[in-house]
Symmetry: C2
DNA sequence: GCACGGCTTGGAACGTCGTTCCAAGCCGGC
DNA sequence: GCCGGCTTGGAACGACGTTCCAAGCCGTGC
């Protein structure tokens, strides 16, 4: 270990390369997997070099979230505005399902570009749906909050279970916990305990979108 | 500083006192305010003593969230089931608004007792609303996800601004940012930019609940 | 009245994190 | 060919969650 070898790396450090590496780490080991030390190791450099391109860890998270959700806000390209809303909703749901850390980040900091684009897409569809001007902001916000909230919650649930396919086992355990509760105090949980282990998260999410769409359709009268 | 003075404290350390102190710290300085060192100082003890009563920081957060949301899931005591749903929704919204860290915690870990109670209350009202059995789980879940997601998002927004009353200033800045976007790509954000600084978060949240309730009312046909 | 032993305390220490600092190396322009 | 700004990356700082353990307190059995 004599002299420092700072010869120009064959691929220079850049913001894009750093964000890409961060996404790899986040996908592999979750939110705790993103560390400036792990990032340094993967990029074969030191923490200081990374700080030259990125202000801090939060900026890195925002950039990674933005990159991951960029695809989810493409053109609506559906004739039916209700179908366009469903398409946006599912795109966000699937993106967050694949990158749970992005969902957490989305609901942590407000006014992110990705959020603006989603709200814009939803708002455009409320116009196409014939929602009165006075109700468009509220309708689009309700859709946005439901979509982000449900996607995040679903991702948080999925993160609880190890990568193995024992989703059913975990849900069965939760259903069993429900059945041990006092039936007089928790009649509803007892009623739906059977449905819990075999319900489809994605379909249920979409059904919720349809509930809001049905409520919106009722607006003008 | 001679001998150790471990004389029995006038009020013994206990799980309840620890959780209460944790809530104080969380309310004062946000999520980062809860530290085992700060907690030790406030309780005039050391970190080790706290670990005797509490397994780890996460358990402490769960207990604090549970304590703070206990009041939000009281008896529905409203004749109209729709009004009961609104009451539960507003109780959660207000509790999370007052304790933003609780909202973050709620959507982090699934299967918390508070979540079960809220889902139970909502489910009971779907029964009273005459929702068909096959749709109750989905309806209650949609309400739950919307309520938690919106409350959390609202709290995250509120946390951005300093305690001073410049909420309007921040929203005005965001509206200004919207107006700098390309009007062809973001027509909706331009349209609603005027409404942003003067809209009522709580009223808009409630309007979203009503949208879902309207959708639910349409279910049987 | 006194020793014993489990319950409780709280300070010290470990490893890791985000972040800052800075000496050193590289390279384009004079 | 040297100079000065752009980059690099290793060392160090302070704070965190957590673990460990010596010490003190107090109820129990004699």
């Amino acid at each position: 270990m004599a002299g420092r070898t700072t010869e120009r790396r064959e691929q220079a450090l850049s913001r894009e390369r750093i964000v890409a590496a961060a996404i790899t780490l986040l996908d592999a080991d979750g939110e705790d997997g993103l560390t400036f030390r792990a990032l340094s190791a993967r990029l074969a450099t030191g923490p200081g070099a990374i700080y030259w391109h990125v202000a801090n860890k939060n900026e890195l998270l925002v950039a990674a979230t933005e990159a991951v959700l960029a695809g989810a806000t493409g053109r609506p390209d559906a004739a039916d505005p209700a179908q366009a809303v469903r398409a946006v909703a599912l795109a966000v749901f699937d993106a967050v399902d694949e990158h749970p850390w992005a969902g957490a980040q989305l609901s942590r900091a407000p006014a992110q570009p990705a959020m603006r684009r989603i709200l814009e897409r939803l708002g455009q569809q409320t116009l196409a749906l014939g929602v009165p001007a006075a109700d468009r902001f509220t309708s689009a916000s309700a859709l946005l909050n439901y979509i982000i909230g449900s996607s995040r919650q679903n991702a948080a649930n999925a993160r609880t279970q190890p990568p193995g396919g024992d989703r059913t086992a975990i849900l069965a355990a939760e259903a069993a916990a429900w059945r041990t509760l006092d039936p007089d105090e928790y009649p509803f949980l007892h009623e739906i305990a059977d449905q819990l282990p075999r319900h489809d998260d994605r379909a249920q999410f979409l059904a919720g979108v349809d509930l809001i769409l049905a409520g919106i359709a009722r607006l003008p009268g």
